[in-house]
């Protein structure tokens, strides 16, 4: 397993570099249209101001040099300062926002995977049965309806009508743990609904196959308990393809938090990025894209590790 993880970690290095190049390149493309210095000097900028800022920020250097300089300081955790507010560092901006995004995404994955697995198992135990048909219709509906629309409906009852959860805004766990949970539950449910559907579908199909396989038949013939047939024999096999599906969904959920952040009025990475694009805040844009990219890589690593834990063949391969 250590060897397997080591290989995955090594494989991350070129990906990390690619993410850095892409983040930098996209930001530079924005810069070509609206000048960074222009946005620093503000409206009615003088030529002197622009020239001075460009020299100060090293914007007149060739691209590769600027990239290496940016990457080198990024490696130390320094992502520069915001162009619209020179007194604020990009890292502190990200640190301020990333907690909301990560907690919503992680929470949504926990809800989505747990509910999806429960539904998938119930479906697979009696495929074609009443429960299976009801759950399959439900998951088809979840795929068809955008999750945040349903979450808004939910928010009407749970938050506005009954006041159980907060309808908008984000409370930090440092302020209040219960407040934090109340504030992220609705956005997390919104983000989790498509995950539920995806996991239910994938697990239903792989679990149905597993339960009809010869090794389960052999276990039945040995008198193995029904709960253990499902939990110890079929489920670990059926989870192998399901984990891959969850991995895709985790990356997609990170991309989608931005809609959820807008709907629930939460200041997270999504809003930070959109604002940075609107104000052509190149340093913030570069930095946040890099960080989001790294988060996606880490999620992939976690998925690969769980895949290896489930599949001895992958884990022990040399």
């Amino acid at each position: 397993m250590a060897r397997y993880i080591g290989i995955r970690l090594l494989a991350m290095i070129p990906l990390l570099f690619a993410i850095a190049v892409i983040s930098f390149a996209i930001a530079v493309a924005m810069e070509a249209r609206g000048s960074i210095a222009g946005s620093v000097c503000g409206e009615g900028a003088t030529i002197e101001c622009i020239a001075q800022v460009e020299r100060q920020l090293g914007l007149d250097d060739p691209m590769p040099i600027r990239f290496v300089r940016w990457l080198a300081s990024a490696a130390t955790g320094d992502l520069g300062t915001s162009l619209t507010n020179q007194s604020v560092s990009v890292s502190s901006l990200i640190a301020d926002r990333i907690g909301a995004t990560l907690s919503i995404v992680a929470y949504s994955l926990v809800i989505g995977v747990a509910a999806g697995m429960a539904m998938g198992i119930v479906s697979a135990v009696r495929p074609g049965g009443v429960a299976d048909r009801a759950l399959s219709v439900a998951s088809a509906a979840l795929i068809a309806a955008p999750g945040f629309v349903l979450a808004m409906l939910l928010s009407w009852w749970l938050a506005v009508e009954w006041g159980w959860l907060s309808p908008a805004g984000y409370t930090r766990p440092s302020e209040s743990i219960t407040g934090w949970i109340r504030s992220i539950t609705l956005p997390a449910i919104g983000l989790a609904l498509p995950t539920v559907a995806l996991v239910q579908r994938q697990l239903r199909s792989s679990m149905t196959n597993a339960l009809q396989s010869r090794y389960v038949l052999a276990a039945r013939a040995r008198g193995i308990r029904r709960t253990s047939l499902i939990g110890e024999h079929a489920l670990p096999n059926a989870m192998i393809p399901t984990v891959t599906a969850i991995g895709f969904r985790a990356a997609a959920a990170l991309g989608l938090t931005f809609t959820v952040e807008v709907v629930f009025n939460i200041n997270g990475m999504g809003t930070l990025l959109t604002n940075a694009i609107q104000t052509r805040n190149v340093t913030v844009l570069q930095g946040s894209m890099l960080v989001v990219g790294i988060v996606v890589l880490v999620v992939n690593l976690l998925v690969d590790i769980s895949y290896g834990l489930l599949n001895p063949k992958v884990r022990l391969e040399r």
């Binding site: 396989s213 010869r214 090794y215 038949l217 052999a218 276990a219 039945r220 013939a221 040995r222 008198g223 193995i224 308990r225 253990s228 024999h233 670990p236 096999n237 489930l310 599949n311 001895p312 063949k313 022990l316």
Partner: protein, 350 residues
């Protein structure tokens, strides 16, 4: 003579075609149509027949993995045709299986320790630990695997090794009957005989009765004391293994024998000639639409008019068993003798 451990009497297994909303009803598949045989302790009954003849269905019916439509199954004299839920565990301890295909019948995510050990835990209540470990090692030794296999996963083993693990897994609960469904069919010839030797040793050591299922009459005869030849859910011929092989009384049995290649060139040429007389490419009838007469009639080189009109009854054969074929009561009246000379003369006359 010892009392049989397993008795199967007039077993029928039909799969009812379920009718569903918006789907036309599927016809009933008559997979097993009234077969009877018995196996004593220390003995092996071989069931042979082409793909789709219903061999695995017989195995599943005995194993309580599919519903019996009609007939009786007895274990040690007690009726086990439909085992109630509360008696299931006790039943499973007495009948075990080694299934077709060593690749899919072992769980890929379990180590040999778990594969062989979970039956011990289930049936003897021995939790994972040194005592269970000892038992597993003894079982592995019995099937000729070293202790290092404890930590192996199925993908780290060859087909023959996997099948040995399957045998150890079946032995783990100390059953009175082991059903081996095509247990050696997927293996190379040399590995096949190794696994067969393991089965023989196990039988000598434990006295377990075997139901050995296969499609190769040569192999089945080798392993078995008695054999039954299945065609389309019917047992068309049964008797002592060597008797059936040497004096086949049913044309289908003769066809199975002729389809096995032999090393002697003269004998091989003879078999090839014989093979050509059978309509090998003709499909057997569908088990959901059985003919009224003999199920083999459309492929039989010596079929008569009566064959398509009347199902032949079982009659005594020269080898001491039974045969279901009109040749023994109508037409040339072989009266239980071997069908071989008759088919030979019929094929040369053509």
């Amino acid at each position: 003579m010892t009392a049989p451990f397993l008795e199967v009497e007039n077993l029928h297994v039909h799969f009812a075609g379920r009718s569903r909303l918006f789907r036309s009803a599927m016809p009933t598949v008559k997979a097993v149509n009234g077969i009877s045989f018995a196996i004593e302790p220390h003995r092996t009954f071989g069931l042979v027949g082409e793909s789709g003849s219903g061999k695995s269905t017989v195995a599943r019916a005995i194993l309580q993995l599919t519903d019996v439509t009609a007939g009786t199954i007895r274990l040690d004299g007690a009726d086990v045709t439909r085992v109630p839920r509360e008696a299931e565990l006790a039943f499973r301890k007495r009948v075990q299986a080694v299934l077709q295909d060593p690749y899919s019948s072992l769980n890929q995510v379990h180590q040999v320790r778990t594969i062989v050990g979970d039956g011990i835990t289930r049936h003897f209540g021995i939790k994972p630990g040194p005592e269970r470990e000892q038992r597993i090692l003894a079982l592995l030794d019995e099937v000729g695997l070293a202790g290092e296999f404890l930590d192996r996963y199925p993908y780290e083993m060859s087909g023959g090794q996997r099948q040995r693990v399957s045998i150890a897994r079946a032995l783990a609960v100390a059953p009175g009957l082991i059903i081996a469904d095509e247990a050696t069919s997927a293996l190379d010839v040399s590995i096949q005989s190794q696994v067969i030797n393991v089965l023989r040793r196990v039988q000598a050591d434990t006295g377990v009765a075997f139901l050995f299922i296969g499609h190769d009459l040569d192999v089945v005869r080798h392993v078995s004391d008695d054999v039954g030849v299945m065609y389309l859910g019917y047992l068309v011929e049964q008797g002592g293994a060597d008797g059936v092989y040497d004096l086949p009384a049913h044309p289908y049995t003769e066809m199975l024998i002729a389809s096995v290649p032999v090393p002697d060139p003269a004998a091989q040429a003879e078999r090839r000639a014989l093979r050509q007389t059978f309509k090998k490419d003709t499909e057997p009838p569908s088990p959901s639409d059985l003919p009224v007469g003999c199920p083999f009639a459309n492929r039989c080189p010596v079929a008569m008019d009566i064959c398509t009109e009347l199902m032949p009854e079982a009659t005594a054969a020269r080898h001491g068993g039974h045969v279901r074929c009109h040749l023994h009561t109508s037409g040339p009246v072989l009266a239980g003798e071997s069908v071989v000379p008759y088919i030979r003369s019929a094929s040369t006359a053509r």
